[in-house]
Symmetry: C2
Subunit: 310 residues, 2 copies
Amino acid sequence: MREFEYIKRYLKPLDNSIGDDAATLANSSYLVTKDILIEGVHFFSNYLPYNLAKKSLRTNFSDIAAVGGTPYGYMLGLVLPNNVDDLWWESFVAGLKEDNKYFQVKLLGGDTTAHNGKVIISVTAFGIKGDRFIYRSGAGLGDLVCVSGTIGDAALGLLAYQGIIRDSTGRLKGRYDIPEPRVTLGQAISDFASSCIDISDGLIQDAQHICELSNVGMELHSDKIPLSFAAREIVEKKPDYIDLVLTGGDDYELLFTASSEHSNKIEEISQKCRVNITKIGHVTDGKEVIVRDKDNLPITLKNKGFVHFI
Amino acid sequence: MREFEYIKRYLKPLDNSIGDDAATLANSSYLVTKDILIEGVHFFSNYLPYNLAKKSLRTNFSDIAAVGGTPYGYMLGLVLPNNVDDLWWESFVAGLKEDNKYFQVKLLGGDTTAHNGKVIISVTAFGIKGDRFIYRSGAGLGDLVCVSGTIGDAALGLLAYQGIIRDSTGRLKGRYDIPEPRVTLGQAISDFASSCIDISDGLIQDAQHICELSNVGMELHSDKIPLSFAAREIVEKKPDYIDLVLTGGDDYELLFTASSEHSNKIEEISQKCRVNITKIGHVTDGKEVIVRDKDNLPITLKNKGFVHFI
């Protein structure tokens, strides 16, 4: 995880806005964000180009959702092995086409280069600003901490792909393959959420990103973390997997904070947007994310990533 | 060169605007472009990170210059080997900082990922539109074909790096290392140039790009191609290198067409922008770029790239 340190040390001084999921383009209604997917780091070598196309767009659109915006279009950077063939392109372009229609976005340009190496997809996506830009830095003492959908499915889906667990319905793999950016939800909360981030690095790590930029801590309750039926079944059989649920990435749900006075509004939005929203904790005056179990005892995670833990 | 075919076949149907050096963002004054640099394809493994930073920005700013715009800022995508260290970052960021100041641009955000592989820099650059967007598709029968600066230096610089030729003054290497995007010139010609492209793939190949999109041909004269003192010295010793001058890439000069009625204006602009502009030929009703030698005989080049030649 040294890249976080390098970015903070070398690139942040050049760009004060680094830290949010997307940036604004001055004197326009545009948002812009960039996410790179690399073979062997973010996806397997035999990964379907169709899924890859969708994933590379959706991870970016999730960043746009996290600041309250609507996807508009994208620039596509492709670095491809020399032996990529028609079949690869047909599958990849089928994925692009479907998502262009689904999100009503368009390809604006790009660069494609062949090399003697792996597949790398570098998408720069554009969005249109929502009512209000949601920063990561606005979480306030006592705010509710909420998440959309269910957490941990994508990380378990990856385990299923690795043959470590069984995914009888295929839903966990499906969540890993094709995330659903919470665009409608991001727009709906944009006028009152105090902070927001999309969960790409893992629940705890992304919660920690908000804490750092907002100068706060968070107390979360592991028994409140929303699990899908498939995930619950697995965690009940092997409780250790709760670690993975808390720290695994790729869910692309929204983690946001809001003053408790908006509690009813959050329920309404949940119904209107047809997305479950779960209150999983609150903002504290600490500096860290603390997760407590059902007996209110702090959980020490084995896989901490770069996050400092109690 | 199969990527050109793939782009044409699979990506162009998704984006009619593909073909120009930069795209416009609707309802804004922004231009956007994307250029990826890959270790082993676009630069050597021991290449100075300082040069790399500048080159990755300048190749993009050259695209913005080619449509008549002014650089505004950029998103930085970095894919870096796991062993990149502080020295690498310090050199790279020094290059970024200098060019942020030189071009008055800012870093707007990005994504940095470590992997077990090569250095890949994926920049998406933004510009502000000039008076008029210069398309590649506007070249008209009888128009003058002009180039800025001198041609072939970067390709010869690369040969010098490879130890194949001597570059006693270091100027050829310097041109390969740090191109000078013709921003002021691009702006100055934007209200009358009928087409423009920046020479990144090579003079002939880029001329051919204009021909394809404008449905025209070009007749160029090899003895009119402007050479630097250093390049002329080398070509005089070994005339075969004229092939390289005509087809080598990385010069990032502007190749543009304009009606001959603007001939005097072009001279004025050359003086005002302090950039040599040379008329090297004219637009024909053919489909190909034909280069004629001083005896007016068509030259057959050994290294044609993907360009079809007489």
